[in-house]
């Protein structure tokens, strides 16, 4: 799988309360959730995000609440992949479970507006703006199976 997109960058400890504030959790409608994505730290996100854009952040991305509405809002807003130095663990599993691609790698040299090309199979991240290439560790086989199946519930189809 290959994805190419423009970077929208945030800092460390982006929590799920700012990704999707709790006041909007009275719905599970994905489009409605996406329309409020990031609004408490970046009111411009929903107007400037384009399908295929890549969200880049620092450490502990998605910390806080277990709300799956957070990765859902990001995915539905059009973001193709989230790249961060580290992810909070519930966000990490939620993203895998709903099929939002995420990558853990150093992000210091990536800036807002850079164009990235990510090859998930090779584990390679190219910064086309800065002409650099870095690598990232692929998911363990078990998680790859969930991703390939299109999410957790599809992957357990045989067990029900």
């Amino acid at each position: 799988m290959l994805t190419k997109g423009t970077v929208i960058k945030y800092g460390d400890n982006v929590d799920t309360d700012v990704i999707i504030p709790a006041r909007y959790l009275n719905t599970s409608d994905e489009k409605e959730l996406a329309s409020h994505c990031m609004e408490d730290i970046d009111k411009t996100f929903v107007t400037r995000v384009k399908p295929g854009d890549i969200m880049v952040a620092g450490t502990n991305f998605g910390c806080g609440s277990s709300r799956e509405h957070a990765p859902l809002a990001i995915k539905t807003s059009g973001i193709a992949c989230v790249v961060a130095k580290s992810f909070a663990r519930i966000f990490y599993r939620n993203a895998i479970n709903i099929g939002l691609p995420i990558i853990e790698c150093d992000t210091d040299a990536i800036d807002e507006g850079d164009t990235l090309e990510i090859d998930f199979d090779k584990g390679e991240l190219k910064n086309l703006t800065k002409n650099t290439t870095s690598t990232f560790a692929p998911f363990p086989p078990f998680l790859q199976d969930i991703i390939k199946a299109g999410g957790l519930l599809k992957s357990i189809g045989g067990q029900k």
Binding site: R23, D40, N94
Partner: protein, 417 residues
């Protein structure tokens, strides 16, 4: 190589003699939990999967605690969806208004979680039950749906940090101060993906209420779970509430820890976490005069009877400062009733506090105490992120019930004397 307490519980729940950090397992679940925010998403996923029944009608628990009693039409529709699903699938434990409480106070109180259990919940503070020697962790709605369908969850076996507790807490210092102190030491990702295993002579002096509070905020350190060894206090607590036989796991003497942190409880001071991260822990040596607009005493972190007793002892016979709104929320119906019988509710009302029916409400800026722009709140809750309790430019200061009550009287952030 020995196993940690967490690893032993995980091994027992996936039928292995031995597991090690990094291994991915499929573990059997003793209980799967969801609330009125996360369960609707789980129900949608469950229905999409084509499953017709849950794996065990006794082991799925719904607690409608976040936006209840429902704050608006949309929230009411979500609760209705859960109610209808529970009826349709024969879910035994669906706690609605009138019998519900804040989930992580309710489940221990009802003996639904005991030592040795493996619990997942679509709520990040599910880690609370580690206080009782259970493995419990927060997951998302899809994990909850898969858990309801199969009774299993995929887990990566965590490595651990050991917190070696010694000494005893001083007067007016509580479990909340301990966990805020730890957050100040290791930060909001200091235990990312790991277990926080509490051990040492100091554990015995901590009440179950303090342990529940400490384990509750393990997630604030990024941890997968926080867990306490089982002792006489734990066994007495669970035996008074459950007929099931507790299963006690202990860490192996040669268990491997990534790090060992020694904490002398007698050195922990009254602590406040400043906006906008729980790791911004400060003691009163370093807190200027900060006027406040609101105080919230409640939540899964500090809404138990012990917490209300601490607050009432400070507020009794006094008045909340003019201009401060003090909201007290007993976490469950039983706590509400006990507080009533003990006269605590009268103490609160006479002091000028509002007393609410159980709800998570204000903790997450849902309802029952949302903050306006620029307002400041001292809360016994667990998170002080940007916009957590209302307007993105409001501020939340996390503290113990003692500091919260003292602050309500002083009209500014103040220590309990």
């Amino acid at each position: 190589m020995g196993m940690t307490m967490t690893q032993k519980i995980l091994a027992a729940h996936c039928g292995e003699k031995h597991v090690e950090a990094g291994q991915i397992i499929q573990a059997n679940i003793d209980l799967v939990l969801g609330n009125d925010i996360t369960t609707p998403v789980a129900i949608n996923e469950f229905n999409k999967s084509g499953c017709s029944c849950v794996y065990d009608q006794n082991k799925v628990v719904f607690v409608m605690d976040h936006f209840t009693p429902n704050k608006d039409i949309k929230a009411a529709e979500q609760s209705k969806q859960i109610r209808d699903f529970a009826k349709d699938k024969g879910i035994v434990n669906c706690f609605d208004v009138g019998e519900m409480g804040v989930e992580h106070a309710l489940l221990p109180e009802r003996g639904m979680v005991i030592c040795g259990d493996l619990v997942i919940g679509a709520d990040s503070h599910t880690c609370t039950y580690g206080a009782l020697g259970a493995f419990s962790t927060g997951v998302g709605s899809t994990d909850m749906a898969a858990g309801m369908a199969t009774g299993k969850v995929w887990l990566k076996v965590p490595s651990a940090i050991k917190f070696n507790l010694t000494g005893q807490l001083n007067k007016n210092v509580y479990g909340k101060d301990v966990i805020l102190h730890i957050l100040g030491l290791i930060g909001v990702d200091g235990a990312l993906y790991k277990s926080m295993e509490f051990a040492g002579d100091g554990v015995a002096s901590l009440s179950i209420s303090d342990r529940l509070c400490i384990a509750n905020m393990a997630i604030e350190c990024g941890a997968k779970n926080g867990i306490f060894p089982v002792d006489e206090k734990t066994l007495e607590y669970v035996r008074a509430r459950s007929n099931r036989e507790p299963v006690v796991y202990e860490a192996d003497p040669d268990a491997v820890y990534e790090r060992v942190i020694d904490i002398d409880l007698s050195t922990v001071k009254q602590t406040v976490a400043f906006p906008h991260l729980p790791e911004n822990a400060r003691t009163f040596d370093d807190i200027p005069d900060i006027p406040i607009d609101q105080v919230v005493i409640g939540s899964c972190t500090n809404g138990r009877l012990e917490d209300l007793v601490i607050a009432a002892d400070i507020l009794r016979g006094k008045k909340v400062a003019k201009g401060v709104r003090c909201i007290v929320i007993p976490a469950t119906q039983k706590i509400y009733l006990d507080a009533m019988e003990m006269g605590l509710l009268r103490d609160f009302v006479e002091a000028g506090c509002a007393v609410s029916t159980p709800t998570c409400g204000p903790c997450l800026g849902g309802h029952m105490g949302v903050l306006a722009k620029g307002e400041r709140c001292v809360a016994t809750t667990n998170r002080n992120f940007v916009g957590r309790m209302g307007h993105p430019e409001s501020e939340v200061y996390l503290a113990s019930p003692a500091v919260a009550a003292a602050s309500a009287l002083a009209g500014k952030i103040a220590p309990a004397e």
